[in-house]
Symmetry: C2
Subunit: 374 residues, 2 copies
């Protein structure tokens, strides 16, 4: 395994300042090369791809090649059901729906084992949250349950747990420590279980999806590297492929700092009252100037603006509309007050629609997932 | 967990010289108290119990109480399918058949996960050995397949693997290190899997056998202690009982030293040609004196005699017959030559009978166990 000396803690909450470091040290490739490939293939990239929010990848080109050739392909992700479904999760959710529309099979792991081991979540809470927060939210975001496998880690049947057993002897303690930092038996088993989450769709019992892509935030790369290494080390016992991955940036808080549930005033929650979210948006830092006069003269700075971030990431999926807002801001035609009023309306509609949809799916979600017995 | 400073390595091959240390340091109880209890209950102890080979226990009295009250009780063991079924395994096998006759349910784990993690056994070899060496041998020793559950660890279905996940967060790395010494991810997962082997029969899905006894060699006590602690720590999430255990001594080699497959000249193998085993027995050290004259005068010393060990452990299950041999030896009436000739005949018959029976069961064994998929 490589890159041990520069560590990203997947159980912490790191801020990644320098994306170029990731390219150099860990071998993540810039996403631009995939965009070119997609153009050649005539595939429309998603807004997150087009807008540079998904900034890096490993081997996505190979997965697209396989997809282009009609081979079975899958997108895999996992959510730890230990809290609210938030914007970071939504970004993954949006990517799942994108790949699903292309024809990818979707696997969603509800990481109840990890919630228990790492966050010490009571079992029943983790199960309820997994279903009513995570599965229901993904359905509300448009994921088609007919073409998605939702499962809890501990309740997964078939050779999934057999894989965890086999993986455990293909990695040393030091290697895991170099990637994850201080370990406990629970963290070791959790990490190996995540490896199984990513690799088990390749087994014939689960459909034999040999080409798998995992969309993650950059902080999750340690899991990806361990998983890729383990896939190779299983040769001779189990035939597995190195999984592909894409890496996305995380949306900033409304003060330009970190978005986090521990900073509720600058963080918009998907399940808070839309009025409340609008109140926060209206109080947000912007990319505006000190005075209206100055702003009309110099124009605003949308790239520095947390309100514009909301448009960029999810509120304005239409590129032309987004470009129009950007231009009018930059040329000083759109001032922050007007912009916030417009954005507030969008945000209200978005949250209101999402929350109604979520309520609608909460009951349905229970019928889609086999729950753990303990 | 207790006793960290005095360590018995369950993956090494320790020689235990001082059984009293076990009573004092680890809290293993002398077996004599169970013999009294059995007498009160009118239960016939097994030869290994009567002869002091099973020398210690934890909570067996409680399990017998439950059995006496008609509650469901089970005996659980595991074998690592990494080599030949040997005399140590046979001693466990004999205990399984004893408890089975009393009405205990029998669970036999084939520890293929451990064989892979600790001994790096190729998967197919472990599976074949598990079935053709271990399952077939246990059948040959008289275990009733109708009342035994044989399973490979990796292929176990139901909430067994769910338990491993939950256990992993109830123990710290330091605690495991104090018990097992140097750890690897594979050893950690193996140890937790053995805990699941012992505890999962208590779950309703496997019959709800809340009273479980595990017959082990004293070197396996670290697993027992970890398992007992984890059972208690699961309270609130899963209701489990502390498992009981019994501890037996290991038979000596024919030179009075250690019996081991790495010392084939002084070790009798269950599957070697009976003629070969007889040849070794005839060359064995004995408890005899320097000359026949001296022996007639002073008598032999059966307690120091590896040939007598063979009678004591398995060749002479009848107590009266054994006592007769012991007395004739001690009084100088039975000399070593005659004794060895007599013992050789017994050994030949025993091995020949066992080996024929083993051949008979080899095919049948395959139909009794679900094999792992990888």
């Amino acid at each position: 395994m490589s890159g041990g000396e520069v560590r990203i803690d997947p159980w912490g909450r790191p801020e990644i300042k320098d994306y170029n470091r990731l390219y150099e040290v860990f071998g993540i490739r810039p996403f631009g090369e995939v965009l070119e490939k997609m153009k050649e293939m005539g595939v429309e990239p998603s807004p997150l791809m087009r807008r540079g929010i998904i900034f890096g990848h490993r081997d996505l080109d190979k997965v697209l090649e396989a997809w282009h050739n009609g081979e079975p392909v899958a997108v895999v992700t996992g959510f730890m059901p230990s809290g609210r479904f938030h914007f970071g999760h939504m970004m993954t959710g949006l990517q799942l729906t994108y790949y699903q529309r292309l024809g990818f099979k979707v696997f969603v792991s509800l990481a109840d084992a990890e919630a228990y081991a790492v966050r010490h979540m009571p079992r029943k809470d983790a199960i309820r949250i997994g279903i009513e927060e995570y599965v229901a939210s993904l359905l509300a975001l448009g994921l088609d349950p007919q073409r998605t496998e939702f499962y809890f880690q501990t309740a997964r049947q078939g050779p999934y747990h057999e894989m965890i057993q086999l993986f455990s002897s293909k990695v040393t303690y030091s290697e895991m420590e170099a990637i994850y930092g201080e370990l406990s038996p629970g963290k070791i088993v959790s990490a190996l279980t995540q490896v199984a989450d990513i690799l088990h769709p390749m087994l014939p019992e689960y459909g034999g999806y040999m080409h798998v892509v995992v969309p993650v935030g950059a902080d999750q790369d340690p899991h990806i590297r361990l998983t890729r290494d383990l896939a190779m080390r299983m040769k001779g016992d189990v035939e597995l492929n190195e999984p592909a991955a894409t890496y996305h940036k995380l949306i900033r808080g409304l003060d330009g700092g970190k978005m986090s549930s521990s900073r509720p005033e600058v963080t918009i929650f998907l399940n808070e009252p839309p009025e409340e979210a609008v109140r926060k948006l209206k109080a947000s830092l912007t990319g505006g100037r000190n005075t209206a006069e100055e702003q009309r003269r110099l124009g605003g700075e949308p790239d520095k603006c947390p309100v514009f971030d909301q448009y960029l990431y999810y509120l304005v999926p239409d590129d032309n509309e987004l470009e129009d807002v950007r231009t009018r801001c930059r040329t000083g035609k759109l001032l922050c007050g007007e912009c916030k009023a417009w954005g507030s309306e969008r945000l209200f509609k978005f949250l209101d629609g999402y929350q109604r949809s979520l309520e609608h799916y909460k009951d349905k979600a229970w019928s889609l997932v086999e729950t753990p017995r303990y």
